[in-house]
Symmetry: C2
């Protein structure tokens, strides 16, 4: 499929440029409303004193998410895709043109909320992080395997809600995930309450150190 | 785009066939885990004594949802799409071949969980119903406008969780929806607790009577 071939060529150029500037780029994917922006808000609160952070936001319409990130004092480029259900490497390339790459340590790319197509479009990132919220149900990894197989880390988000959800079973979700991506780490967390956030930050630190 | 042209031709044939058999076909769309299958389970419990119901399920992998529907005593055809993020008219046509259309009054098509592409692929349905769960956030209509504009009815699902969610505002969600689809009805409901279910059943009855 030449569509993916061209995209992958551009993604490789993006990654080369990011690596040259010692930037760690994380592609954040999930269903709509799983908590990507909330996680970024919490991450910025914790890491802004240590790292220079920038964010590329992807949505069909609005600047809502970029506004939330800018309110935290971090530069955010909003890509509005119109009717595309995923970001691609060309969109990310033009967003990178708007950033001063000299300054940045950590670049987060918040993809369009979609549990399918973002898995197939390399953007030039170093790592894929997927969120699955407890409110979606514990069978999603087996039902939407592509994106879970493409993940370097799975975050089970909104675990503060677990006591209120009689049908989400953390063990079921873990087994479902292991059935499609056996060797990939899984981390339950709550960006609201703070559970798991220290481990997430440690994973980010390790990943960034590793790539230097 | 010839892709959509061919699809729309097939969708028109599907709809003609369904209409000839006096079947009302409802295309159910939402993000992953918004409660489509749970709503169908509840709807079957309420309507099976009055209507002959069949379901076509769409997922990338597994028969999970079809099994849940069959456990309710209703015939379900499971389409596994592999890596397609939406159902299309050809998939629905081959699913229809597996059903005895003479018998059916109400046909539900549960689309792949995705808040973007299902809006663009006509399947031959008579009505589009979209679910937005309270756990996803109240800004989704403005951020993912395509599917909300394509809806004949919006269901705000899981309203039993409202008291526990400090950030979902029903008025904000209603305003967000009105900004993209001003004339379309919106119905808050809980398939678990029963809120709004009577109005949903009335809407189904009215729609079916109207199409006869
Ligand atoms: N209880 C709870 N709610 C959360 C948590 N994280 C996010 N939420 C809620 O989930 C909803 C969606 O959160 P967002 O951060 O906007 O989700 P998102 O993945 O960025 O959404 P999109 O960008 O539209 O795909 C909001 O109402 C948040 O308040 C959490 O840790 N716990
Ligand atoms: N509290 C509450 N939870 C609900 C309600 N409806 C569904 N759920 C929960 O939401 C999760 C997902 O429900 P499903 O019905 O499987 O959602 P779906 O839209 O069919 O999911 P996919 O087919 O995978 O896209 C499950 O854990 C359900 O228990 C509701 O009315 N209230
Ligand atoms: Mg967001
Ligand atoms: Mg389902
Ligand atoms: Zn798509
Ligand atoms: Zn897609």
């Amino acid at each position: 499929r030449t569509l993916l071939f061209d995209n992958d060529q551009q993604a490789a150029r993006n990654r080369q440029r990011l690596t040259k500037h010692n930037i760690t780029a994380i592609n954040l994917m999930s269903s709509p409303g799983s908590g990507k922006t909330t996680l970024l808000e919490c991450t910025i609160d914790e890491l802004l004193s240590r790292y220079h952070i920038a964010v590329i936001e992807g949505d069909l319409e609005t600047e809502n998410d970029a506004r939330r990130i800018r309110a935290k004092g971090v530069e955010a480029v909003q890509i509005t895709t119109g009717n595309a259900c995923h970001l691609d490497a060309t969109m990310v390339d033009s967003a990178l043109q708007q950033l001063d790459l000299e300054q940045i340590d950590l670049l987060f790319i918040e993809n369009v909320g979609n549990l399918v197509c973002p898995a197939s479009f390399d953007l030039g990132q170093h790592r894929n992080v997927t969120l699955l919220s407890t409110t979606e149900g514990d069978d999603k990894p087996e039902k939407y395997p592509l994106i879970f197989r493409a993940s370097d880390l799975l975050l089970i988000s909104k675990i503060d809600l677990l006591p209120l959800l009689d049908e989400f079973d953390l063990q079921c979700a873990t087994d479902s995930f292991a059935s499609v991506a056996a060797d990939t780490p899984l981390l339950p967390l709550s960006a609201k309450r703070g559970d798991g956030v220290a481990q997430w930050l440690a994973w980010l630190n390790d990943t960034h150190q590793h790539l230097q």
